[in-house]
Every structure is written in C-alpha cells, then in structure tokens.
C-alpha cells in the first residue's frame, strides 16, 4: 500500500504542484536521486573471458561492492533487456544468470525488495518466460513485475530534454531507491547499437514518440531525467548483426565481456568500442555527451581492465 499510495498521492501531487508552481525540474530533481552513491576510484570496470556471474562478482568488487550502491532496507529496480520472445542463446535479451547474480548481490547488501521488469516488444509473458529471466529472477527472490499496461506508467516532465520534454515512466523507476540498468550489447537497425541508454526505452510507455521525434536525441534526452545508479552491460554473447531481434544463432558471437559504470555515456562508449564502432559515430552517445550526461572520451577515464 505504501509504495502505490506514495506514487499516486505524493508523486502525482508533486507533478501537479511542480507544474502549477512552474518550477522547471522540480519533480525530476525530487526524484532523480544520485544521493548515497559515492564516487568510486574507478570510473569504469571492463572484464572479459569469464562466465557472466563470475565476471560480475569480480567487476563489482573493483567498484567497491554492490554495497556502495545498495543500502540496507532499500528497494532496488533492475531493468534488463527482455524485449523479445527468444531463448537466451540468441542473445536478444540480457543473460538470465547475470540478472540472478545481481539480485543476489542486492539482497546480500540488505536490499528490502528487488524488482525486475521491462516494457517488452513481443508479448511480455512470452518474453519473460523465453528469456528465462523470470525464472532466474524469481529463484533469486526478486519480484518480477509486468510492464505491459499503461496504468503502471506515470507522466513526468523532462525539462532538460531537447526533443523529449515529457514521458510516461514505469512507477517502479520512480518509487525504487536504486535503479540498476542491465542492457545487453547488440547491433540495432535504428539506434546502430543498443546498450545502456537505449535500454531505457523499456521503462517508458510510448516508444513510438521517440521514433517519430529524432530517435537518437530522445535516447540522449531521457537520462537527463533519471540516470541509472549503475549500468552493467552484458556482452557475454553479442548479436553482431540483424539486431535487435536477430534472425538466427549465426548472428551471435561469444565475447564473454562485461562493462560496469555509473557513467552511462562512458559505459556505452566502451560498449561501442568493444563492438568495433567509434562512440562518436553513434549519435545518441554523442548527443548525451553534449548534454553533459557523462564522458565519451575513454582516455580521460580511470578504467579497470580485467581478464579472468
């Protein structure tokens, strides 16, 4: 009851008040909560040649453990990519074992609740099931939440956006204390690549608006409203062509890699490099860096590189 009430009364009231008082950014500031997340020594950890769980264990340790991000009693929302009704081997969705391990880390750090959801492209129940994320997440004790109905989405203002000025965002993103973004690295027919920023299309209701109104700009605009507290790019198996859905297993290359960063632009820049593309060639990464959302220049970052 608490959470929903908080959203429906508190937050919606907040939106109303915010817009009535015409204070730009009032709401987004109240919600976007980088608080409590301390700067780590490393800006980014890149790891390769291990199983997803093993790589995550080692990588998060380098960042000081999940406890740096998740405090006792907090609620956590994890947003994997569960966009497609395909089996894990096809690598169109985030690796389910990685999701499970992240959830376990959160609970070990004392998280009260861990939620997992995505606003899928294919039928959500089939995606949740075929991707095996539902099974693994539930095994780890997370609550697997639907993202299929507009009633879960609350309208928010995005004052700093250039093309995207408002959107409807899943209530769990608004109500949870910690937001962990776990995309899978894939080729993408429209965005060129899909990684951390592109994955956020799965927390809003109307993706068509983004597609109509300069896709790359909208992808870059959204994090001005809410940046995930942690981005974990799953590059264990990478769909090199025919993304984001893929046609067959032949599209997939086993890269056994993972990138973790609090800097969403840096994470995506590193992902692009890993894929074999220049970050500046991916317009939404460039736009996001221009908006000051993070660092596109990897040479300026303190990067920890690990080979298991």
């Amino acid at each position: 009851m608490k959470r929903r009430d908080f959203i429906s009364k508190g937050i919606v009231g907040g939106i109303a008040a915010g817009s009535l008082l015409s204070i730009p950014g009032f709401y987004s500031k109240a919600i976007a909560r980088p608080s409590g997340v301390q700067k780590t020594d490393y800006d980014l950890v890149a790891i390769k040649n291990g199983e997803p769980e093993v790589m995550f264990d080692a990588a998060i340790k380098e960042l000081g453990g999940i406890g740096k991000f998740v405090k006792k009693g907090q609620s956590v929302v994890i947003k994997p990519n569960i966009g497609w009704d395909v089996v894990p081997e096809k690598a169109a969705n985030t690796n389910p074992k990685l999701i499970k391990r992240i959830i376990e880390h959160c609970f070990n750090a004392g998280a009260k609740d861990v939620y997992v959801f995505d606003h899928t492209c294919d039928d959500w129940k089939r995606c949740y099931s075929s991707s095996e994320i539902e099974k693994y997440a539930k095994d780890a004790g997370a609550k697997v939440v639907p993202g299929n109905t507009e009633s879960y989405y609350q309208e928010v203002a995005i004052p700093k956006g250039k093309s995207l000025k408002k959107d409807k965002v899943h209530e769990l993103i608004l109500s949870s204390d910690v937001f962990i973004n776990v995309p899978v690295l894939k080729s993408h027919g429209s965005a060129r690549l899909t990684m951390s920023m592109k994955n956020l299309m799965g927390i809003v209701w109307d993706r068509g608006y983004w597609h109509r109104n300069d896709l790359h700009q909208c992808i870059a605009d959204f994090p001005t409203f809410r940046k995930p507290d942690l981005n974990i790019i799953d590059a264990y198996a990478v769909m090199k062509q025919n993304g984001p859905r893929g046609v067959s297993l032949a599209d997939v290359v086993v890269m056994k890699s993972q990138i973790i960063s609090t800097d969403i632009v840096a994470a995506d820049a590193a992902g692009a490099k890993l894929f074999g593309l220049e970050p500046t060639d991916i317009l939404h990464i460039k736009y996001a860096s221009q908006l000051g959302l993070g660092n596109i220049d990897l040479t300026k970052l303190n990067i920890k590189r690990l080979v298991v």
Partner: protein, 534 residues
Amino acid sequence: MKKLNSLKIFRIILSVVFFVPILIAFLDLADLVPHDMKLVFTNIQFIPAFLNFVQNPITASVIFLSLIGITFLFGRIYCSSICPLGILQDIVYYFVLKINKRKRFLYEDPKNIFRYSILIVSVVLFFAGSILLLNLLDPYSLFGKISANLLRPVAMIINNGAASVLTSFDIYMLYPVDIFFHLPVFLFSLSMLAFIIWLVTKKGRLYCNMICPVGTFLGLISRFSIFKIRIVEDDCTSCKVCEKKCRAMCIDSKGQLIDYSRCVDCFDCISACSSKAIIFSAGNPFAKETVAKTDSNEMKSSESSSVAVDISKRDFVKTVIASFTIPSLILRAGETPKVYKNSTIAEDKNYLVTPPGSRSIEHFNDYCTACNLCVTACPTKVLQPTFIEYGIFNVFQPKMDYHKGFCNFECKICSDICPTDAIIKINSLNEKKLVQVGIAHFIRENCVVITQGTDCGACNEHCPTKAVKMVPEDKLLVPKMEEDLCIGCGACEHACPTKPYKAIYVDGNPFHKVAKKPVVEKQKVIDTTEDFPF
C-alpha cells in the same frame, strides 16, 4: 414434486462436465489451460465436428457420427448436456424458476415452417459457400461470441480490479489485461443473449426448437430415437403436470402425445409425474409412434435433397452470392491527423490478412463460424473480430489487425486451437515461421527517416526475418523490403510510428504462400583473451 430422478441428475452432472471446461476455455485470461484440453471440449460440439467431417470425411468422422449416433440412441442429449448454449438456457431457466416458482409452460404446436426454413437455408447456404447462418445461429459459436465478448470482459474487469488491489500491496501475482471492445460483435452477442433470456422466460427452450439449426437437425433424428420419454397411457391421468414442466413445450398431456423432434432430454417430466406414468425406455424406433402433429415426412425429403446439393454447383451459387457482398473496402478509416508532420499517403490494402494456417481467405471464410476462441487465445491480440469487412456473408470472422498487435513469430496457438479447422493445424513452429500470410509494402514518402531526416527503423527492429533491411543513405538508414523473406506478421506495421498512415503496411495474401528462409552469414569466433579495444 421437487424430487430428482436419476436421469435428471445424470443430465445435470453431464452438463457441468461439458459446460465448465468450455466456459473456462473462453475465460482463460492467463492462458493457463493447455490448448489440447480446450480442443477436447470444443471439438465435440456439433458444428465444429460437422465442419471437420466435411473437410476430412474419412479421418474426422468419429465425433460427428458419434453425435448422430447418440441422438439416434437417446435423443437430443447433445442439446441437453453438451451444447453450451443449451446449458446456458437451463441455467437461466433455473433462475427463472427461483424467481417465479409458479412458472408453467403449455404445449404449443411446433414452429415447423420457421425452423425447417432456417435449417434448409443454413444448409443450402453452407454448401453454396456461405457459412453465414451457422456463424450466426450455431449454438456453440453463439455461446463463444457471448463468452468472448460479454463474459470475458466482465472477467477482465474483475481481474484488473483485483490486480490493482494486489499491486497496491506490492503483490504482482495478477496483472492487468487490455480489454478490447469490438462493438458490432459485442452488440450482436448482447442482443442475442437478451433475446435468448427473454425466450427462456417466456417459452423455455424455444431457441433450440425454433431457431437453432443444430436443434432442428437433431430433431429430425430424435423422432426415431430408440430410447425415448414415453407416456404409459394406462397410468396417465392427463393431469397436465408434465406438460406444464416441459421446457421444450412438446408434451400434449391431454392427447398423451410427445413431439420427439423437440424433446431436449431434460427429464423434468419424469420427476414431475406423480403417477409415474412417464418413463424413459427403449422401443422400436420406426414403429408408429405417438408423434404430435408435424409435417415430418414432407420436410425430411426436402432436407435430404438440400444436403445433396451438387458441390460443383457451389461455385456458381457462390458467384451469385459474392455479387451481393459488400467488398472489403472498410479498411481505410484512418484516425484524424494530429499536430505532427503527418504521413500523407494512404495505405493501399487490397486484402484482409487471415491467420497462418487458414491457407486462403476463401478457406477461412468457408469454415469459420466466428466462435471467437482464437481471438481469446491469441497472446498478442492481433486476431480481432471483423464486422462486414469480409462481406455480409462472413460477418464477425476474425482478421489480423496490425494496429492492435502483430503475429508473434514463435506462436501458432490459433492454428492449434481452431475447433472448425478454418485455421488448419500447422505441424511445427518452423513451418509456421515460413507461412506468408501477406506481404509488407514500404511507403517511402511516409517514412520518418525521409520526412524528418532522423533515424527510426522501428520496422526493421521488429522484423523477425529481416525482410525489412536498413540501407545506408547519406548518414541515415532507410528501410528496404525484401518481399521473399516477408511472412506478413505485421510487426513492422504495428511498430511503425507514423501517423495517420503507416509507412509500412501488410497487404494480405488471398492464398497463403511459403516465404524464403532467411540465410544468415555466420559470425566468426573471436579470441576472448585479447586486450580491450580501449
């Protein structure tokens, strides 16, 4: 008076056994019931069994012939205990009796001209190529329409209410579902339900004995049933109690006559008779019976002649009928444009898209009775009822509506579940993935990439076979169709964000084809111990 006899108890148990699963099949919001289980209970319905029989007289004859055989043995057991619409009427009648304990019926003459006309027209139309009357009047399909369009939305509203209450307690066991209303079929179902309820309150099972073509047909057989309700003349006091209790209004107490063509085997009369003068017993089926005045012989001959309509005449009659049908032109009712760089060119759809497995629009139109079972089972809601888009002789038959959803690549539920084989079962998913139900067409002038000069590619993103390619043009990627690979699933059309007209749309294949299998270049294996590229 209230005592139950064992036959009546048996009838009620049988009704529950057949009714509950079929109701659940239509109300299964979470798709929990295995499809084979649903099929068991829908396939034994008379019209689905008949349609299966007509399509495969050799392999699919068992159920159909069994239903006929049961009727010949025991009378209209189908109407009393298998037909969901019949049982629904019994449920209504139960409440009528609760409200009005003094509810009485009296014998009425059969509405022969009316009922046999409907039967003959149904049969003639069917063999002429239009399933219209079976679609509208078949009791199973009508029950399906009522369940899918009236009862299911009620279940959905309850589900959504419960889901939102549970969600507020942070429990995500139930989830909200989208409720689609299709007004024409909703109104039809509502008015038919209201009409049937009214009939039950006034005249008992009159729908079954005046309108229902299945009831009328089985009535032709049940006259000659071996086991029948019989009045023991010596014990009968002509007290009229049985007559007043007869929901089929087929007992003439005074003349000690029973119209067996209308008796629906409810066995109420046996309980009602205090003199025990009514029994259910075997006899010589062709002996001269106490049949109430009907013009059975005359009708029987005209019936058999109509069944024997030469199939080759079918095309001729069909052409005649087709010339009266309204062509499928109601496709283009677009939404009103909004403030946005609107797309300008209307989609040019010539054919509706029928579900994979239906083989052709013609086959689908010929055998679909619009029971709506596939509509309720479709996980993406792409299957939606129509009104007269297929023509007035094919009302309510579903189509693939790509504005509501798109055909899930990994799914063939509709072909698994169709009880009439209007959608023929596809053996494997791999086979289904190549069934081309239509072909997508790209309208460059409507495309965001062209009109806005920004990347979009939603169509390519959703395309499961990559029939939609993205081709570099300046610094942008523009969609390009490779039609051979397209299966017409409509994912591209559904995802395309342009308004009011889509920049990519599927035009149906009147005859389904086989698409080319996508060939994918195998990616090279890489060394994962190499250094990072940054």
